[in-house]
């Protein structure tokens, strides 16, 4: 492929994009270095090494297991004759939508000693389920909630690969395992790597799951320090940002060594017959579903049911009604859908800069976008409030507006679309462009007729990641949302905090159902394209 200089317009768009995404990082730096605080002194004086080490260890373990689980699930559901594959494709992304503060609590309530699973297993002679906590508990629950970061982009990529290469390998005598390692894995490596990076960054920024599993990481220390010692909280957050930057750089240098495979589907993807493995594969997918979706949902349904039958027992009536659930659900869907669309619009130009033109502005923008994912949402919310206050008239205009909320969501979750969009851009073969240009297509026509059709599955997966993640977003929804804009997650949070568990359960079950519907819609749309 001939390297061309990036068009000036694209560079400007990329530059603006990276500036927008840099707001939270700049705010953090401003907070650390302008108020007379001494972040280095604070960090050296405090006990930061241990939580930092725990954070890194957890993030590595979760990344590893989520990468394997996500890839295996993607392969089983897209490339084999697994029974009910389409149904699984609808269900498997759902864990992405559990806000961890209630998802992990529900998981514990089902699986820990005395929980719902315990009651169910008693009749089978199993008396005590083990207590999930600490490193093992946090690792398990985060792996189960994070594998979709890998599953979605890898599944999209797998459905796009031509079967011809694999067929050739098989004809030339490779067994299916060798074919997977030598042919398939090399083609999906960049997708796995991009997804795993997100898992790593999410894990270091998570607070809900680690606190409920009682595994003391940096985010717990940050959370405890916000009011007591704000400079310490900001200094600790700076470590997260530096860690994120380092990981992004490492990932980039690793993927640079990977072979670049510009393949797209010229023949149908290979479909493998599972044969005698069919039951084992079904068991594997079903077990993942049971732990990642059914277990937390069971506790949520239990809470919700308590509320629905409480009237008959003469307890307090519910404080919500159907209208409130519908209002929150509508707000959730509309804001998440907008966030997904705008996130795609924001990161695709950057993906083009990096993927097609190897432009330096693009590479910087790419790193900034992705590293921002490691920052706790509350910092992004506060930073946007800070910048709108500092920017006078323009800020007043934006305050309390839907636009600012969507902007904040895009800054928070644009990273999710970034890696997948980049893989999508790279999967467009240069030869197709040359052919199109020879046939007289201009840039826009090439984009419409060549790029977008090839990139479509990747872009849809990227949008899906942003959509489902935005649906569960909490701090930005609380702090930045405009007047009269409750979302399902804000209602779940408020209810849960003040022990209105029935209301929290009902809203959370609604969240899961709505996300299943949206995921079904996304999967169907992709299937239509087959």
């Amino acid at each position: 492929m001939i390297r061309k200089r990036a068009p000036r317009e694209l560079q400007i768009v990329g530059l603006i994009g990276s500036l927008a995404f840099a707001f939270p990082g700049l705010y953090l730096i401003w907070r650390n270095f302008t108020t007379g605080a001494d972040p280095l002194g604070l960090l050296l004086a405090g006990n930061t090494l241990e939580p930092l080490w725990r954070t890194i260890r957890l993030a590595f373990l979760v990344s590893l297991s989520a990468a394997i689980l996500g890839t295996a699930l993607a392969w089983c559901t897209t490339r084999t004759d697994l029974p009910f594959a389409r149904l699984w494709r609808v269900i498997l992304p759902i864990p992405l939508v559990f806000p961890t503060f209630i998802g992990a609590a529900a998981f514990i309530r089902t699986l820990n000693p005395g929980g719902l699973a315990n009651d169910a297993f008693k009749s089978l002679g199993l008396n005590e389920t083990p207590e999930l906590r600490g490193l093992v508990g946090a690792w398990l629950v985060l792996t189960l909630f994070c594998y979709p970061y890998v599953y979605l982009p890898v599944a999209a990529r797998l459905r796009q690969l031509p079967g011809s290469l694999e067929q050739s390998a098989l004809i030339l005598g490779d067994n299916p395992l060798q074919t997977f390692r030598r042919v398939v894995l090399r083609q999906i490596a960049t997708s796995i790597s991009a997804g795993t990076l997100l898992v790593f960054l999410y894990t270091i920024s998570d607070f809900g799951a680690v606190q409920l599993m009682r595994y003391d990481t940096l985010t717990r220390a940050i959370e405890s320090n916000y009011l007591a010692r704000p400079p310490m909280a900001f200094a600790l957050s700076l470590i997260l940002l530096i860690l994120a930057g380092a990981v992004v750089l490492v990932e980039r240098s690793m993927t640079r060594r990977l072979p670049e495979v510009n393949t797209h589907r010229t023949s149908l993807p290979m479909l493998y017959r599972l044969g005698k493995w069919k039951h084992l594969a079904s068991l594997f997918v079903a077990a993942t579903f049971a732990l990642a979706v059914a277990a937390p949902s069971a506790a949520l349904l239990d809470w919700a049911a308590d509320g629905l039958i409480r009237d008959q027992r003469g307890g307090n009536s519910l404080t919500i009604n159907v209208d409130k659930v519908v209002e929150a659900a509508t707000n959730t869907v509309s804001s998440s859908a907008l966030a997904a669309v705008f996130a795609l619009l924001a990161v695709t130009p950057i993906a083009f800069l990096v993927g097609r033109y190897r432009d330096r502005t693009g590479r910087i923008a790419h790193s900034v976008v992705i590293a921002t994912f490691a920052l706790p949402g509350i910092l992004i919310a506060l930073s946007l409030r800070f910048w709108t206050l500092k920017s006078g008239f323009f800020g007043d205009l934006l305050y309390d507006s839907m636009a600012l909320l969507i902007f904040a969501y895009v800054v928070r979750f644009g990273s999710l679309a970034m890696g997948t969009a980049l893989v999508a851009v790279r999967s467009v073969p240069g030869a197709l462009h040359d052919a199109a240009a020879t046939l007289g297509a201009n840039k826009w026509k090439q984009l419409r007729t060549v790029d977008l059709p090839v990139m479509r599955p990747g872009l849809l997966a990227a949008a899906g990641l942003v959509l489902l993640s935005t649906m569960k977003e909490l701090p930005i929804s609380l702090i930045i949302s405009p007047l009269g804009f409750p979302t399902l997650t804000t209602r779940i949070f408020g209810s849960f905090e003040d022990a209105f568990v029935a209301e929290a359960g009902i809203m959370a079950v609604t969240l899961v159902c709505v996300s299943a519907l949206l995921s079904w819609f996304l999967v169907l749309r992709r299937a239509d394209h087959l």
Binding site: G46, N47, A105, I108, R109, N112, P113, G114, G115, E131, Q211, L212, R214, D216, R220, A221, E223, S224, N225, Y226, L227, A228, R229, D306, G307, R310, R313, G315, N316, T319, I320, I378, A381, L382, R385, F386, L389, D400, P475, L478, I479, S481, P482, L483, G484, F485, P486, T490, R491, F493, G494, S495, F496, E497, D498, A499, F500, V501, A502, E503
Partner: protein, 344 residues
């Protein structure tokens, strides 16, 4: 944020129903264009009907941002004098202390302050309590016989309770409680107690709710929490929830009453409406509503607590120097961090 408008465009009369109508059964008053903006750390499930009733009764339109008390306090700090908030409602004293230390709290009208006892308000008039939560020892009824239950938090360092007590070490209300503990008994005694608890294998849980849940399941024998979570669990699940509250001695620090506080911000544009709202929160109908809905203790003079609640003779947080909480916070956080409870 939610807007509860008293009147939309002049002729439309606000109508309320459900819980709000129970709080204010009277006809709604027409608005004169007054408004008030609230940042509420208490959930809308609880507060929204009250605000609707308030809008109806006074004609003042209400705007609310719901959130976590800590995050809203951080937001107010970030917004400073430009904060749109007039009133801040906090789930616990900590965030109020934080805002006070930043000089962001205004002074509440004396007539409003007088609605509660001196113990439940700030000497400087910067905050006022509107409901109370008592610290208790929640325990699993199948694992701990009632006769053996201790009468003081100091008993919990006994070998007998090794590995059996849950502590929400980093949770806001525990941090507040520990700060008062230091204030009452001196930092040395309080720190020693916490270190002894850690040495006695006290188990760390992140918050009250997770302890009540774990105690109900029998994962842990007992835990130090605010009283009302268990009432809510029992109200939701009945007898299948296997945990009950145990009150420690009335004079014990483990029986402290911790208040949820209302404040008017220094930067408030609508401080008259804000004071009216605070007075409304302390009106008899609203105080009764709180105690019957969430099983919290009412603080306004003359209002009876829900009849399932044990009579309140406990220490009240206001009887100690609550205003020192803000400043004492940093040191408390350091002591708790150093005790290592979060890794138990």
């Amino acid at each position: 944020m939610t807007v509860i408008a008293a009147s939309c465009g002049g002729s439309d009369q606000l109508e309320i129903d459900g819980l709000a109508a129970e709080i204010n059964p009277a006809e709604c008053v027409e608005g004169q264009g007054e408004e008030v903006t609230i940042y509420s750390g208490r959930t809308e499930n609880l507060i929204e009907p009250v605000l609707e009733a308030f809008a109806c009764a006074t004609g003042i339109s209400v705007q609310v941002r719901w959130g976590s008390s800590t995050q809203l306090a951080l937001l107010i700090d970030e917004e400073g004098s430009r904060s749109p908030a007039d009133v801040f409602l906090s789930r616990s004293p900590g965030p109020v202390g934080f805002l006070e230390s930043k000089g962001l709290l205004g002074t509440i009208d004396q007539s409003v302050l007088d609605l509660v006892g001196e113990d439940s308000r700030s000497d400087q008039g910067s905050w006022i309590g509107f409901s109370g939560r008592k610290r208790v020892l929640v325990h699993n009824v199948d694992l701990v016989p009632e006769a053996e239950l201790p009468s003081s938090v100091f008993d919990l360092t006994d070998e007998k309770w090794r590995g059996k007590v849950a502590i929400p070490g980093t949770n806001g209300s525990f941090v507040d409680w520990f700060t008062v503990f230091r204030d009452q008994y001196g930092t040395d005694v309080a720190t020693q107690w916490l270190n002894d608890m850690v040495a006695n294998d006290a188990r760390y849980y992140p918050n009250n709710r997770s302890i009540v849940d774990a105690t109900g399941r029998g994962e842990i024998e007992m835990g130090l929490v605010n009283h009302y979570y268990n009432y809510q669990e029992v109200a939701a699940s009945g007898d299948s929830h296997r945990a009950l509250n145990h009150d420690l001695d009335d004079s014990d620090i483990g029986s402290l009453l911790i208040i949820t506080a209302a404040t008017v911000l220094e930067s408030a544009d609508n401080s008259s409406e804000a004071n009216q709202l605070l007075a409304y929160l302390l009106s008899e109908s609203v105080q009764s509503y709180f105690t019957n809905r969430t099983f919290e203790y009412p603080l306004a003079a003359g209002v009876e607590a829900n009849d399932t609640l044990p009579p309140l003779k406990a220490l009240e947080i206001g009887s100690v120097d609550f205003d020192a909480l803000g400043g004492g916070f940093e040191e408390t956080a350091r002591i708790i961090e150093a005790s290592g409870i979060q890794n138990q």
